[in-house]
């Protein structure tokens, strides 16, 4: 019998305490941010879309190797001798033309593993997170600054240079063989 009344009393008492808490919360200001008008303050280390500064990129492929999902595709072409590509901002000499540097943001898992191995700190994460696209192909970002004709030209130069070098090496070899024959 005592339990009966204790149950009733307990139920009513805890219900009233609960009601008091929710009533108090009616007057607490809301924590909602009205999104498109107010944007959240992102901290400085926030990890969102990547950006590559092509002036500093030496084409070393470290970031592509570090990526766990293989979303970075890099293709380089060696520069021919008279060309001077200049130096990066921290003093490294650039030896390669980067002809393809694609990052597929649909695959990227925003883990930041590509940022650490870069020797010139040219790839880093920005705070841009509003880059939704309707077609998935539009998420493949291409960072190279050379136009298609320039790329074709650099590749041509390189193949020509290699061909010349091979021809020269072949000529030198035959000349040497002839020399050794004559000397014999």
């Amino acid at each position: 019998m005592r339990d009966y009344f204790k149950n009733i009393f307990n139920a009513l008492f805890t219900i009233f305490i609960g009601m008091k808490i929710t009533f108090k919360h009616l007057f607490v200001p809301a924590v909602t941010i009205q999104y498109p008008e107010e944007k959240p303050n992102l901290p400085e280390r926030t990890r969102n879309r990547l950006y590559v500064n092509m002036d500093d990129c030496i084409g070393c492929d470290q970031c592509a190797r570090a990526c766990p999902v293989n979303c970075i595709t890099i293709e380089t072409v060696k520069s021919v001798p008279p060309e001077d590509l200049g130096k990066t901002s921290n003093g490294k000499k650039k030896m390669l033309h980067v002809t393809q540097f694609d990052i597929d943001f649909a695959k990227c898992c925003y883990c930041q593993l590509c940022v650490f191995p870069c020797p010139t700190e040219c790839i880093y994460m920005t705070d841009i997170y509003e880059f939704a696209e309707i077609r998935r192909d539009n998420l493949i970002y291409s960072f190279v600054t050379l136009t298609k004709e320039e790329i074709a030209e650099k590749k041509d130069n390189f193949t020509k240079f290699e061909a010349e070098k091979a021809a020269k090496a072949a000529k030198a070899k035959t000349a040497q063989a002839k020399n050794s024959e004559i000397n014999k």
Partner: protein, 356 residues
């Protein structure tokens, strides 16, 4: 009343009665839209968030947008259902809640129909809702809907008993079933409201007060169960296994169920207010009286009635967002082992006091 007034102007029984019957509907539909918006805003602020904010200023047009969306939705009917019952069920549920408004006094000159059996009529008519729910559950041809409908029917039927017992105890004090007369008896000051003992003279008034307060609590809790609100919302709970008796409905029929729910909420709050808190009486005189504009009084009464009704609807929402849900067998235990004995003992004691 309004009916005679309109008859005198228009001269035709039919048109006068139609207009007089549509008055509560004109109150009810905007109220339902307002109640849905109020619920979302109240729940938002209790949870430290904002609720609807985009449609209209601070979202007050949100319900209108929802109704437009529901109206233009495709009316999906499953093939193996019993079509006549399926289509008729929402109508019955809505009719049951709406018909209760015929006997509720909004002001001292307006009542839908001034029958002497006011309260009994209201209790009887709100049992239509049970039939409607059972039809909805059965005609959906879905065993989970049927299970939910059975539970809901059991819940509503069991919780009508404490309601009626408390109403009986009020009738013992006031002597009439007519809600209009009951409201008139609680006139002239807040001291005369039924919850504070009613218009009884002498020592009996003070002895009655605790028992009437208990009666008020009992009827409020059973009215929560009548409308399927938390903590008694097993039939419409989505996180339980069954999804309730209105799963298979879409579009306008679903909107009818929802409208009926909010109409029902107001109907039961209105009954509680009329019984215990003086109906349309104001707690302290009428401004119309003190200024001298007597025609202002009905509007004031309507304002007080609506304010008290909306306050209790707000308390129902407050409870919904605070409490967890009861399981079905615990719900039955609360009714049969706690509420019914308490209300029965209450009735006997009040009757004894009045007789002495």
């Amino acid at each position: 009343m309004i009916y005679e007034f309109l008859y005198n102007i228009i001269g035709s029984h039919i048109i006068a009665s139609i207009i007089s019957a549509v008055f509560p509907l004109m109150f009810l539909v905007p109220f339902a839209l307002f109640a849905v918006y109020l619920e979302r805003k109240v729940s938002g602020h209790m949870q430290d968030r904002l609720g609807p904010m985009r449609v209209g200023w601070h979202g007050w047009l949100q319900t209108v947008a929802d109704i437009i969306k529901l109206v233009q939705k495709e009316d999906i009917t499953a093939s193996a259902t019993d079509k006549k019952l399926f289509n008729f069920a929402p109508v019955l549920v809505f009719a049951g809640s709406y018909a209760a408004f015929a006997a509720i006094p909004f002001t001292s000159i307006y009542i839908g129909s001034n029958i002497d059996l006011g309260i009994l009529y209201i209790v009887a008519v709100s049992s239509f809702v049970v039939a409607g729910i059972l039809m909805a559950g059965w005609a959906s041809n879905n065993k989970y809907s049927l299970l939910g409908a059975m539970r809901s029917a059991a819940q509503i039927i069991s919780y009508e008993i404490p309601t009626v017992l408390v109403i009986l105890s009020i009738i013992v004090i006031s002597g009439t079933l007519n809600l209009m007369t009951l409201s008139e008896q609680q006139s002239s000051s807040i001291y005369n409201w039924m919850i504070f003992g009613g218009a009884v003279v002498g020592w009996k008034k003070f002895v009655l007060i605790p028992f009437l307060m208990i009666g008020f609590l009992v009827i409020y809790i059973s009215s929560l169960a009548e409308v399927n609100r938390t903590p008694f919302d097993i039939p419409e709970a989505e996180s339980e296994l069954v999804s309730g008796y209105h799963t298979e409905y879409s579009g306008m029929k679903f909107a009818m169920f929802f409208l009926a729910e909010y109409a029902n909420m107001f109907a039961v709050s209105a009954v509680v207010v009329a019984l215990f808190l003086g109906g349309y009486q104001s707690p302290f005189g009428y401004i119309g009286n003190s200024i001298g504009l007597v025609w202002l009084i009905p509007f004031e009464q309507f304002f007080w009635f609506a304010a008290k009704g909306i306050f209790f609807v707000f308390v129902q929402m407050w409870l919904r967002w605070t409490l967890p849900r009861l399981r079905v067998d615990q719900l039955m235990v609360v009714c049969w082992k706690y509420l019914i004995p308490i209300s029965f003992v209450n009735l006997v004691i009040i009757a004894l006091i009045m007789v002495l």
